[in-house]
C-alpha cells in the first residue's frame, strides 16, 4: 500500500541522515524536508480516502509470536488516525522548514534533522498502530526522540538533566501503561483493537480482586483497572498532574522541538490514546471520572503557574500543560471528539506560539527571559502579528480556532453531567487565566519599552523566510482549523450513542458567552496590568507573596519529588549497597572464608613439632575409635 510510505519516508530520511550524517552535514534538510512533505501529501490523500467513509488497514509483519501472545505490526487508518496524521505531518513539515532557518550553522544540524525525522516516523507509527503494543512501542520511541532532542545541546548540564527527567518521568507513567497493556492481553488474549473492542462489552462486569495476594478483598472493575493503568501512561506523556513536571524542563531543547514534540504532537499522544481506547474507557465510569479530575487539576495548575513565569518558553509550556488538561478533561467527560478538536486547534496555535518564541529567541541571540525583552513589535512585525494570532486563539478570542474548540469543549463538559458542570466552571476560570497570561506575554515581549541587552538591539531583525513562512501558515491554520467541523467528522469514531456536541441548547449558548467574556476579560486585564499600569505586577507580587512565590516556583512540586523520591532512592541505593551488599552479604561470604582460614590456623597449632604429641594423637585416635564401638 502506498500509505505505508507515510511513516517510512521519514524513517528512510532518518536512516540516511543517521548513517551518513557526517558526510551530509549542512545539506541534511535536502533529505529530510522532501521526505516529510511527501508523507504529508500522502496523509492528505489518506485523509480524503478515509473521509469518504472507508477504513484503511495495512498489515505489515508478525513482530512477535509466542503462544497466545501474538503481536503483528500493522497500519490502521480511520478518521481519528487520519486527523492525527494530518496534524503530525503538517506541523512536522512546517517545523522541518522552520528548522532550516533556526538551526542553520549549528554543529548538530544533520543530527537534529535525523532526530526529528525519526520522531515523525515514530509519531506516525504511534497514531497508525492497530494494536496496543505497537502503540506502546512507538509511545516509547517518541519518548526517546523527545529525550534525544531535549538533550540536543548535550554540553549544557541543564539540557541533559531535563532530558533525563523527561524520560524518567515518562517511564513512571509507562510503568502503568505496560501493566494496563498486559491486563488487556490477559483479559482478552489479544492486543489488537479489532479483537479488544468487540470483546469489551461482554467483559464489562468483570472484576479483579486487587488484594488477593495479601488475602484481602478489594474488587475492582476490570475496565477501571485497565483504564487507570493505561491512563498512567497518558499522565506521563501528556504531562498531566502529577507527572507534568518534565514538560516545562523540556524547554531546554531547541525551540522547533518544543513546537513539534512538546506542544503539537507527542504530548497529545495521551489524549489520542484515551480517545482511541474510548470503547474501553466508556465501560468504566470510575476511570473516566479520574481522568476528568486529573485533566481539570492539570488545567488549573498549569494556568496558575503560567501566570508568573518569566521564561518565554516556560510560559508557553505551562500553557501547554494547561491546555492538555482541557483535552484530557474533555475525554474524561466522554467528549472525545471535543478533546480531539481542541487537540488539533491547539496543535496549530501552540506550534505557532512556540515557533514565534523561537523567532524572538533567535532574534535576541538566545535570550529567553521576558524581563529582558519588550518593544519588539516594530522590529519583528511578522513574528509579532503571528504571535498575536496564536495568543488570540489560545485565549479563545471569537472566531479563532481556539474559540471554537474551547467553547465546544466546555459546552460538551457542561452537558455531560454534574461533575462536568463543576469542571466546566473551572474551565471558564482557567480560560480567564489563559487569556491573561497569554497576553501578558504579548504585552511584555512586544510592547512597552525595550529591556533588551544593548549589544543586541542593533542586530534585531526579522529572521529568514524559512522561519516566517511556517509562522504565517500556522497563523492561518490557527484560524482555519476552527471551521473544519472536526467534531462531527470524528463523531462516528466515538459513536457510543451518547451526547452530540452539536446540540447546544440554551446552557450551551450561556457557556459560549461566558467563555468569550472570560477570554476578553483576561486580555483586558493583561492590558490593564501590563500596559496601563506596569507597576501593578510587582505590587501584586508583594501583596500576595506566598501565592506569587508558589506560582513562580511551580508550587514546589519538583522540590517535593526531589525530597520524596529522588533523594530517598539515591540514599537508599547507597545505603543498601554499603550496608547490605558489602557488609552483610559480602561480609558473610568473606566471613566464611575467614572462618575457615581461622580454623586452619587453629588446627595447625596441634602440629606442635613434638614427636610424642604425634604419638599421643595416635593413641588418642585409638581411644576414640574404641569409644565409638563401645557406645554406638
Amino acid at each position: 500500500m502506498l500509505y505505508t510510505l507515510i511513516p517510512f519516508l521519514p524513517l528512510a530520511a532518518f536512516l540516511v541522515l543517521g548513517l551518513g550524517g557526517s558526510r551530509i552535514k549542512d545539506r541534511a534538510h535536502l533529505v529530510a524536508v522532501p521526505a516529510v512533505l511527501l508523507s504529508c501529501l500522502l496523509s492528505i490523500g489518506a485523509f480524503i480516502e478515509v473521509a469518504s467513509g472507508s477504513v484503511i488497514s495495512v498489515p505489515l509483519y508478525a513482530w512477535l509470536t509466542s503462544g497466545t501472545l501474538d503481536v503483528r505490526i500493522g497500519l490502521y487508518i480511520d478518521r481519528l488516525t487520519a486527523v492525527m496524521l494530518l496534524l503530525v505531518t503538517i506541523v512536522s513539515s512546517l517545523v522541518h522548514v522552520y528548522t532550516i532557518g533556526y538551526m542553520h550553522g549549528e554543529p548538530g544540524y544533520a543530527r537534529f534533522f535525523s532526530y526529528i525525522a525519526l520522531f515523525t516516523f515514530s509519531m506516525l507509527m504511534l497514531v497508525l498502530a492497530d494494536n496496543l503494543l505497537q502503540l506502546f512501542i512507538f509511545w516509547e520511541a517518541v519518548g526517546l526522540c523527545s529525550y534525544l532532542l531535549i538533550g540536543h545541546w548535550y554540553e549544557r548540564a541543564s539540557a541533559c538533566a531535563a532530558a533525563t527527567k523527561a524520560f524518567l518521568v515518562n517511564r513512571v507513567g509507562d510503568f502503568g501503561f505496560l501493566l494496563g497493556l498486559l491486563l488487556v492481553w490477559y483479559s482478552f488474549g489479544s492486543l489488537n483493537y479489532h479483537d479488544i473492542f468487540p470483546a469489551a462489552h461482554e467483559a464489562a462486569n468483570q472484576t479483579i480482586n486487587l488484594l488477593r495476594p495479601l488475602g484481602g478483598i478489594w474488587e475492582v472493575s476490570l475496565f477501571t483497572l485497565i483504564g487507570l493503568l493505561l491512563f498512567a501512561g497518558a499522565i506521563g506523556k501528556s504531562a498531566q498532574v502529577p507527572l507534568h513536571i518534565w514538560l516545562p524542563d523540556a524547554m531546554e531543547g531547541p525551540t522547533p522541538i518544543s513546537a513539534l514534540i512538546h506542544a503539537a504532537t507527542m504530548v497529545t499522544a495521551g489524549v489520542f490514546m484515551v480517545a482511541r481506547l474510548a470503547p474501553l474507557y466508556n465501560l468504566s465510569p470510575v476511570a473516566m471520572q479520574v481522568i476528568a479530575l486529573v485533566g481539570a487539576a492539570t488545567m488549573v495548575a498549569g494556568a496558575t503557574i503560567a501566570l508568573t513565569q518569566t521564561d518565554i518558553k516556560r510560559v508557553v509550556a505551562y500553557s501547554t500543560v494547561s491546555q492538555l488538561g482541557y483535552m484530557v478533561m474533555a475525554c474524561g467527560l466522554g467528549a472525545y471528539a471535543s478533546g480531539m478538536y481542541h487537540l488539533l486547534t491547539h496543535g496549530a496555535f501552540k506550534a505557532l506560539l512556540f515557533l514565534g518564541c523561537g523567532s524572538v529567541i533567535v532574534a535576541l541571540h538566545h535570550e529567553q527571559d521576558i524581563r529582558r525583552m519588550g518593544g519588539l513589535k516594530d522590529k519583528l512585525p511578522v513574528t509579532y502579528w503571528t504571535f498575536v494570532v496564536g495568543s488570540l486563539a489560545l485565549a479563545g478570542f471569537p472566531l479563532t480556532a481556539g474559540f471554537f474548540s474551547k467553547d465546544d469543549l466546555l459546552v460538551a463538559a457542561w452537558m455531560s453531567g454534574p461533575l462536568g458542570q463543576v469542571l466546566a466552571l473551572l474551565g471558564l476560570l482557567t480560560a480567564l487565566m489563559t487569556a491573561f497570561y497569554s497576553f501578558r506575554l504579548v504585552f511584555v515581549t512586544f510592547w512597552g519599552p525595550s529591556h533588551v541587552d544593548p549589544h543586541h538591539v542593533e542586530h534585531i531583525h526579522e529572521p529568514s523566510w524559512t522561519i516566517t513562512v511556517p509562522l504565517i501558515i500556522l497563523a492561518a491554520l490557527s484560524i482555519l482549523t476552527g471551521y473544519l467541523g472536526i467534531p462531527s467528522f470524528l463523531e462516528p469514531v466515538f459513536s457510543t450513542g451518547g451526547e452530540h456536541s452539536g446540540e447546544h441548547g440554551a446552557a450551551g449558548l450561556g457557556i459560549m458567552i461566558a467563555a468569550t467574556v472570560m477570554g476578553l476579560a483576561g486580555i483586558a486585564g493583561a492590558y490593564y496590568v501590563y500596559v496601563l499600569n506596569p507597576h501593578l505586577p510587582d505590587r501584586f507580587a508583594q501583596q500576595w507573596e506566598s501565592l506569587y512565590q508558589g506560582s513562580l516556583n511551580k508550587w514546589y512540586v519538583d522540590e517535593a519529588y526531589d525530597r520524596a523520591f529522588v533523594k530517598p532512592t539515591l540514599t537508599a541505593a547507597t545505603e543498601l549497597w554499603k550496608r547490605v551488599d558489602i557488609e552483610v552479604i559480602d561480609g558473610a561470604v568473606n566471613g566464611v572464608a575467614r572462618g575457615v582460614a581461622w580454623g586452619g590456623w587453629l588446627l595447625r597449632l596441634v602440629q606442635s613439632g613434638q614427636t610424642q604429641h604425634y604419638a599421643l594423637a595416635m593413641a588418642g585416635g585409638i581411644v576414640v575409635i574404641v569409644t565409638m564401638f563401645m557406645f554406638f
Binding site: 614427636t611 604419638a615 595416635m618 585416635g621 574404641v626 564401638f629
Partner: protein
C-alpha cells in the same frame, strides 16, 4: 608348604628388583663417583624389565609359595604402578641428587629396596608377608628421609618418621597377633573363612580390626595418625618425599585393601564405620590445615592427607554398599584414584624439586612468585598439576574424584559426597594459591639468591610422563578405568 619353580617366575619382578638393589649397593663403593650415574641406568633398566614381566602376568591369578603370596590382576595393577613411580623417582633423583650434591649410589639401592617391599606388600596374601613388606619399605624410607645428613631438618624428619613408624608397626603387629589369635591363621583366605562364621562383636576380632586400622592408618596418613606426614614430607629430600607421597601411600593402600577386603571382608560393617570416622576427620583437617601453609612441601603433605581422605570414601562406600558389585565399584574407584593421584602428585613434587633457591630447595610458596614469567612452561605444568589436584576437569584429578563420589552416592553416602565436595572446593583455594602466586604476582627482581629452576632431560621425561598422564587420563580415562575394573578385589 609346597614350592614350585613356577612360583619363582611369579615373583620374578620382585626378585629382579631385589637383585638390582643388592647390585647397586654392592657396586656403589667400587665405582668412581663419575660412573655412579650408571647405577641409575641400571635401576631404570631393571624397572623396565620388571614392568614388562608384570604386564605379561596381568590377567592370571595364581597363589604362590603355598598362598603367602598371590599374583593376581590386583597385585599386578599396583606393582605396575609402583614400578612406574619408582622409575620416575630414579629419573627425578638423578638430577636432584646432583643439585643437592648427594653422591650416594646407595640411594638407588634404597629406592629399589623400598620398592621391593612395596611390591611384596601388594602381592602378599599372608599377614606375615605383608608385615615383612611393610617393614622393608619403611626401613628403607627411614634411611632415605635422612639422607641429607648436613641438613638438620632432614635428620629430624628421619628421626620422627622412624620413631612414629616403629611405634605404629608395633601397633600393627599387635593387631596382627590378635587377629591370629582370633582366627588361628595369618593367611588371608583362612582368616576370611574363620570370620565368616563368627559373631561380629567378638572383642578380640574387634580389637584386632581397630589396631590393624590404626597401623595402616599411619601408613596411609589418615587423621589422626597423619601427624608425621607434614614434618617428614617437609624435611625429607624432595625426591624422597615424592616417592613417599606416591609409592608408599599406594603400596599401603594396596596392602590395606587386600587385608580388609580379602581378609576382613566379613567385618565390613565394623571397619567401614571406623573408616567413615577417619575419612571425615581426614577430609576436614587435611584440607583446612593445608589452607594456611606457607611451605609448599608441607602444603602438599596436607594435600596428600586430604587425598587419602578422598580415597577412603571409596573404601567406606565399598564397605557400606549393598551388593558385591557396589563394593567392587568402591574398591575400583580407590585403585583408579591412586593411579591418577600418582601422576599429579609426582608431577607437583617434581616441580618443587626443580625449584632451587641458592643451593637449597626453593620450597616456600613465596618462591614460586612470578614463575610464569620466568619459566612459562614449568608454571603451566604446575598449573595443570594443581588443577588436577583440585579435581577440576578435564584433568585426571576430576576423574578420580568422580568415581569415588559415584561409589559413595551408589552406597547411599550422598551426604559424605557432599561434604567431601565442599572440602574439595575449599581445597581449590590452596591449590590455586600456587597458581595465583605463579601467574598473578609480579616476579621479584632476579638476584643470585632468588629462586631458579633446574632443568635436565631426565626431569623433562618425568614431567612429560606426569602431565601426559594427567591430561590423557583426564580426557580419556577409559583404559585405566577398565584396568582397575578388571583388577578389582571382590568383597564378599
Amino acid at each position: 608348604m609346597t614350592f614350585s619353580p613356577g612360583d619363582l617366575f611369579l615373583i620374578l619382578p620382585e626378585l629382579l628388583v631385589i637383585t638390582a638393589a643388592c647390585l647397586v649397593l654392592a657396586l656403589d663403593p667400587v665405582l668412581s663417583s663419575s660412573k655412579k650415574d650408571g647405577l641409575a641406568w641400571l635401576s631404570l633398566g631393571t624397572l623396565a624389565v620388571s614392568m614388562g614381566v608384570i604386564a605379561s602376568q596381568m590377567g592370571h591369578a595364581a597363589p604362590a609359595f603355598g598362598g603367602i603370596v598371590i599374583i593376581d590382576a590386583y597385585a599386578c595393577f599396583w606393582r605396575l604402578l609402583l614400578c612406574f613411580v619408582a622409575g620416575l623417582t630414579v629419573l627425578l633423583s638423578h638430577t636432584y641428587l646432583r643439585e643437592e650434591r648427594l653422591y650416594f649410589g646407595e640411594y638407588y639401592g634404597f629406592v629399589l629396596l623400598a620398592l621391593s617391599g612395596m611390591m611384596v606388600m601388594v602381592s602378599a596374601a599372608d599377614l606375615l608377608t605383608i608385615y615383612l613388606g611393610t617393614e622393608l619399605m619403611s626401613l628403607s624410607l627411614y634411611v632415605m628421609a635422612g639422607l641429607k645428613r648436613s641438613e638438620p631438618r632432614s635428620l629430624e624428619a628421619s628421626a620422627k618418621y622412624f620413631v612414629l613408624g616403629a611405634f605404629s608397626s608395633g601397633i600393627l603387629l599387635y593387631g596382627i597377633s590378635l587377629l591370629y589369635g582370633a582366627t588361628g591363621s595369618t593367611r588371608l583366605p583362612a582368616i576370611a573363612a574363620a570370620i565368616a562364621g563368627r559373631s561380629l562383636d567378638d572383642p578380640l576380632l574387634l580389637a584386632a580390626t581397630i589396631l590393624l586400622a590404626v597401623g595402616f592408618g599411619f601408613k596411609l596418613a589418615v587423621v589422626p595418625f597423619h601427624m608425621w606426614t607434614p614434618d617428614v614430607y617437609q624435611g625429607a629430600p624432595t625426591s624422597v618425599t615424592a616417592f613417599m607421597a606416591v609409592a608408599s601411600k599406594a603400596a599401603s593402600f594396596g596392602a590395606f585393601l587386600r587385608v580388609f577386603v580379602e581378609g576382613l571382608g566379613g567385618l565390613k560393617a565394623n571397619w567401614s564405620a571406623i573408616f567413615l570416622l577417619l575419612c571425615v576427620a581426614t577430609l576436614v583437617l587435611g584440607n583446612i590445615v593445608a589452607l594456611v601453609q606457607t611451605n609448599i612441601k608441607r602444603m602438599l603433605a596436607y594435600s596428600s592427607i586430604a587425598h587419602a581422605g578422598y580415597a577412603l570414601i571409596g573404601v567406606v562406600a565399598a564397605g557400606m554398599a549393598g551388593g558385591p558389585a557396589g563394593g567392587a565399584n568402591g574398591i575400583a574407584a580407590v585403585m583408579l584414584y591412586f593411579a591418577l593421584y600418582a601422576f599429579m602428585t609426582f608431577g607437583a613434587f617434581t616441580i618443587v624439586a626443580m625449584l632451587r633457591k641458592g643451593g637449597l630447595d626453593g620450597d616456600e610458596i613465596e618462591d614460586f612468585t612470578g614463575l610464569a614469567t620466568r619459566h612459562p612452561l614449568a608454571a603451566l605444568l604446575m598449573l595443570v598439576f594443581m588443577v588436577s589436584l583440585a579435581g577440576i576437569p578435564p584433568t585426571a584429578g576430576f576423574i578420580g574424584k568422580f568415581y569415588v563420589f559415584m561409589s559413595a552416592v551408589e552406597a547411599g553416602l550422598t551426604w559424605l559426597a557432599v561434604l567431601a565436595l565442599v572440602f574439595a572446593a575449599i581445597s581449590a583455594y590452596y591449590y590455586l594459591r600456587i597458581v595465583m602466586v605463579m601467574y598473578m604476582r609480579e616476579p621479584v627482581a632476579l638476584t643470585a639468591a632468588s629462586p631458579r629452576l633446574v632443568m635436565s632431560p631426565a626431569l623433562s621425561i618425568v614431567l612429560a610422563c606426569a602431565v601426559a598422564g594427567v591430561l590423557f587420563f583426564g580426557v580419556y580415562p577409559n583404559p585405566l578405568v577398565n584396568l582397575a575394573g578388571q583388577a578389582v578385589l571382590t568383597l564378599k
